[in-house]
Amino acid sequence: MSLSKRLGKIMPAIVLSPSLAVVTLCVYGFMAYTALLSFTDSKMFARFDFVGWRQYGRLFESPRWIIAIENMAIFGTLYIVCATCLGLFIAILIDQRIRFEGVFRAVFLYPMALSFVVTGVIWQWLLNPGLGLEHMMRELGWTSFTFQWLIEPNRAIYTIVIAGVWQVTGFVMALFLAGLRGVDTEILRAARIDGAPIHKVYTRIIIPALRPAFLTVFVIEAHLAIKSYDLVVALTKGGPGVSTELPSTFMYSMTFTRNELAVGAASATVMLVTLASIIIPYLYSELRHEPTT
């Protein structure tokens, strides 16, 4: 075998191996390391005195973690429901073959191009009573207008929902629009022949046909929700108090500012397992069989 032929055979392996090594070490390696740490009593630095499930016990006894989980439930549910409904609604509107469709699509997609930090800052300004919406309404003459969700502990979590939904809706819209465009136009003609009114066409035929798109949207939203961190940091920094704490911000402060490395690792592991339990079945079903037409 000639040298170049032999080289050609092993070339793919040579080219792939560095990234494979980096991914194995930096992603899976550190995941395993984090999981390992969660079973130790590490404080500020990693120590390998194993204490079993104790850190998980402490984690779930911590009121701050419970708040984080409750917030996650509120945020996650509202974020997924609102973004899905709104994204679908806008996609259906755009699917009516409107004029300047390209412009609208770009406008709605644009927020996704911004980083979470920028989104957070924008909404922090918009919702800041002294600067944004409230200020503007009062300037316009509605002097009794108040909108102080950002600084009300019971309401602050909803501001994160607003900002998060604002950012992701365009992307959800694009996914649904692709799905809608994939619906065979003959099906729509058949529905007209069958005498289905337009709302029935959507509720009975088109939306059920978008099942694969719904699944994709749900998985994307769910993982964005669970790992959302920067948005909270930029918008509320977890405050007022701990009222907008999420598991991710909890994990960060435990690990890096409260010297509770093991508790942080335990919370990270809980998040990982939650994420994995959503994504693995999805990947499994995607890779196993083609979506039925």
Binding site: A190, R192, G195, A196, P197, R204, A209, T292
Partner: protein
């Protein structure tokens, strides 16, 4: 079964400045099977959509049962349609698919299920009722699509190339089955296809179209034996009709075949209609040629046998006359050998003549 006659009156249709249908004028009676046939892009589907009310036309009118359906929605026209892609609703079961139109017209559930069941029995798909379209084969989907049309018991059925996605064997089976259904139900059917065999085998009336213009409208026999022009002559029939350029000679009695040293009398249909010296095309279907026996009274041509293709019931022979190639179709058992020159009789009671310039039958 409800039935209705259908009239397509001077329909024109343009998309912007592209004219797709030009002055289409067709009328059929109760219970007829009209096939619209023509090459793809000739406007068949567009015409069907106009009949269905899915598309608007630019001018003209459609009447069903003598009443104009101008401005009526598809569901108000009492028609049903089977689409080329079947267009089944993917998220519904077969039962829901078939029953959907009845559900939309608010028929009570027990009655609806009974109607769906009846249609399912007719099409032998009762065992598939709980499945979804994704779990069906092409042929089964096709039946469901037909069931969805049948269940409505409409005045007119519209079919848009319903068999073109099936494999050859299934296509032949379904062809027979649709024809049987037509005979059993006596329904009025408009059926679109680009396949001339489907058109010939199923239709009671054929409309041949090309580039949005109706070329000929008539019974399958009319179309096959007396094509109105060269396009119809070559589009319908496989192998297509042979066309031999010729000139009228002998005081309108004879044909001198161009590019070959051969003469034939003018076909019966064109006798006295073609002036001396006129350039024409002589149309001979492959089966209008036969091996001449010694006692034949028909005019003959001496042809050189180039290729012999037995197909089972027939033998196709590629023949040569001077520079012209001619296809012949002989019964199995005919004695012909490649390379020999044989004498063939031409059935001049059937042969047709076309004007060489306009392509129109003389």
């Amino acid at each position: 079964m409800k039935m209705a006659n259908l009239a397509i009156n001077h329909i024109n249709k343009s998309f912007g400045n592209l004219t797709v249908l030009k002055d289409i004028d067709i009328a059929i009676e109760d219970g007829e099977f009209l096939v619209l046939v023509g090459p793809s892009g000739c406007g068949k589907s567009t015409l069907l959509s106009i009949i269905a009310g899915l598309d608007d036309h630019t001018s003209g009118s459609i009447t069903i049962d003598g009443k104009s359906v101008q401005g009526l929605e598809p569901k108000e026209r009492d028609i049903a349609m089977v689409f080329q892609s079947y267009a089944l609703y993917p998220a519904m079961t077969v039962e829901q698919n078939i029953g959907f139109s009845l559900e939309m017209s608010k028929m009570p559930k027990p009655e609806r299920l009974e109607r769906v069941g009846k249609v399912a029995d007719l099409l032998q798909i009762r065992h598939l009722l709980k499945r979804r379209p994704g779990q069906l084969s092409g042929g089964q989907r096709q039946r469901v699509a037909m069931g969805r049309a049948l269940v409505r018991e409409p005045k007119i059925f519209l079919f848009d190339e319903p068999l073109s996605n099936l494999d050859a064997k299934l296509r032949v089976e379904m062809r027979t089955e649709i024809k049987k259904l037509h005979q059993r139900l006596g329904a009025t059917i408009v059926y679109v296809t680009h396949d001339q065999i489907e058109a010939m085998t199923m239709a009671t009336r054929i409309a041949v179209m090309k580039d949005g213009i109706l070329q000929q409208f008539g019974t399958p026999e009319d179309i096959y034996d007396r094509p109105a022009n060269v396009f119809v002559a070559t589009f319908m029939g496989s192998p297509p009709m042979n066309l031999l350029p010729a000139v009228i000679v002998d005081g309108s009695q004879g044909l001198s075949i161009q590019g070959a040293d051969a003469m034939l009398p003018v076909p019966f249909s064109a006798v006295t209609r073609a002036p001396q010296g006129k350039k024409v095309l002589l149309g001979i279907r492959p089966e209008w040629l036969s091996l001449a026996s010694t006692s034949t009274y028909q005019p003959t041509l001496d042809l050189y046998v180039e290729v012999v293709e037995p197909t089972g019931p027939d033998i196709f022979v590629a023949l040569r006359l001077g520079e012209r190639e001619i296809m012949g179709r002989l019964p199995t058992g005919s004695r012909t050998r490649v390379g020999e020159k044989a004498r063939f009789a031409v059935d001049l009671s059937k042969a047709v003549l076309f004007d060489a310039e306009t392509g129109i039958a003389i």
